[in-house]
Amino acid sequence: MTCKNEELVRIAKTIRRDIIEMAYKAGGATHPGPALSCADIVTALYFKIMNVRPDEPDWADRDRLILSKGHASPAIYAALAEKGYFDKELFNTLRFPGSRLQGHPDMRKTPGVDMTSGSLGHGLSAGLGVSLALKLRKSPARVYVILGDGELDEGIVWEAAMSAPNFGADNLTAIVDYNHFQSGGCTDKIQCLEPLVDKWKAFGWRVYEANGHNMDDIINKLEMAKMSICKPTVIIAHTIKGKGASFMENNNAWHQKMPTEAQYLQALKELE
């Protein structure tokens, strides 16, 4: 089957290359595995779904993206730079003192970052607050929150999951990057999330599943989410941690790690 979104697939590859660049050049180890895992989702959002203005980052009616799994920040830094929010030269400053690119997303330092995040579990609550405030202002803008599967262990996620349907937050879409790994190991062993779809349904969400690396599928589900009335939507995106660099895929050693020169070059070659 041919992909209807070939251009997006090409952009996603660029995003992945930039994630590898940052992993090699940052002021300390980044989280390449978690960033590569959500690279296709981030690409679909910034380059197809979201209504944003890179030349006007504070535009009141822009769609918002909150990267709740903030340790994957290189994924959104790559996307924001590719969109033109800032120059890719900044990649070389990541995690160094004085940089506009902090270890985790900082809404005051990085143009295009809509919410400070990275202390796990908080993105959905923040997204709910944004969503309700936008509705009060009668703004057509939508709010997207990318959650890691590991951070679903946090209680606050379920506080927000319980309250968002109660407020009819239909402008809110959560995407769970379900790669089955967290810092300490396999999510299925540490704190099994299953039955995950049933959990979100029971909390009152419209639930879709998607192949988180199939651009057509991701786009399709995100478009369906836009049509939701009265209910927030969650997309359970089945993903592979480290997707795109063969030696990082499903290898949790790459949760946070700096590649050697040889690994850096190999990853870039695989992503040509």
Binding site: S125, A126, A133, I156, S163
Partner: protein, 315 residues
């Protein structure tokens, strides 16, 4: 016996927030089931869509407040102090204070006003926690009249703030002529050569009583209300130290990290003079009515008088 307020400081807070909401449609209140108890009842009747109650979930409440503020709203997030400042402390720090969002956090039932509920609902550490967070303003009003004025003034300044509130009617100290400026002390008695009392919150009334007794005993004590613990009025503290040579701080809070510590940080770096802290002495308290607990735990008028007499001897 002092005259008592007709309403509590939390009700006064709610009245002020309602007035602000009437003037500005971007004012939002966020609550965690205790909205009515925190004074949002009238606002919820008048502007139901602008009072967001997330249920008993303070962390969610605080982070929802941050999200709503990121869109450009002035958000008041209120619950009991022990929950806003302890359960949701990280949310206040990382998602409100760090991004410098315009959320005013209110903590009710603070100090010993959690009273008969016991330690679970009393908050004697909140000022210490909130004061240590960058960007946070910290205010501790004394009574209902000053609360209304302080809340309206705090609302005028963009950025995160913590407003400490009680549960019951406080001793009436001020009226609608009360003046508040952020970062400024309120000198209640200018003259003084023996010592200065620096106090805030519900203790202001007791300090006024103590000063009268001290005057009868022949002491000349300067009396300062310090409603704004952060930023603190350094100039006023330095002047008081130089003028009187001794300072006693009085607060309904642990002596660790609160008003006394904030004053001491200024004193020891600028004009070292003897100090005494009247407050809760690093212990957990217990259930009881607020006035009785204040007496039991070292915050009686006599305790304040004794602290001044003692410090004068040590000069």
């Amino acid at each position: 016996m002092q005259e008592m307020d007709r309403i509590s400081t939390r009700e006064a807070f709610g009245n002020a927030v309602l007035r602000l909401a009437e003037k500005n449609e971007n004012v939002i209140a966020v609550a965690a089931d205790t909205g009515k108890s925190m004074g949002f009842g009238d606002m919820a009747k008048k502007y139901p869509e602008r009072v967001i109650d997330v249920g008993i979930a303070e962390q969610n409440m605080m982070t929802v407040a941050a999200g709503a503020a990121s869109v450009g709203n002035l958000v008041f997030a209120a619950s009991y102090a022990v929950f806003t400042c302890m359960r949701a402390l990280e949310e206040v720090r990382t998602f409100i204070a760090y991004p410098n969002l315009n959320v005013k956090v209110a903590g009710g039932m603070a100090g010993l006003s959690g009273s008969i509920e016991g330690v679970t609902h009393q908050s004697l550490e909140d000022v210490s926690f909130m004061r240590s967070i960058p960007n946070m303003m910290v205010v501790v009003p004394a009574d209902a009249a000053s609360t209304e004025i302080i809340v309206e003034e705090v609302a005028k300044k963009y950025g995160p703030a913590y407003i400490r509130l009680g549960r019951y009617e406080s001793p009436k100290v001020f009226d609608s002529s009360y003046k508040f400026s952020i970062g400024k002390a309120n000198v209640l008695k200018e003259s003084g050569k023996d010592a200065a009392i620096i106090c805030n919150g519900v203790m202001v009334g007791r300090c006024i009583d103590a000063e009268k007794i001290l005057a009868e005993k022949g002491y000349n004590v300067k009396l300062i209300e310090m409603p704004c613990v952060k930023p603190i009025d350094e100039q006023c503290i330095i002047e008081a130290a130089k003028q009187t040579g001794a300072i006693v701080t009085v607060e309904e809070h642990s002596i660790i990290g609160g008003l006394g510590s904030a004053v001491a940080e200024v004193v020891v770096q600028n004009c070292s003079v003897p100090m005494k802290f009247v407050g809760i002495k690093d212990v957990f308290t217990e259930s009881g009515v607020q006035d009785k607990l204040l007496d039991i735990y070292g915050l009686s008028v006599e305790d304040i008088v004794a602290a001044v007499e003692d410090i004068v001897k040590r000069k």
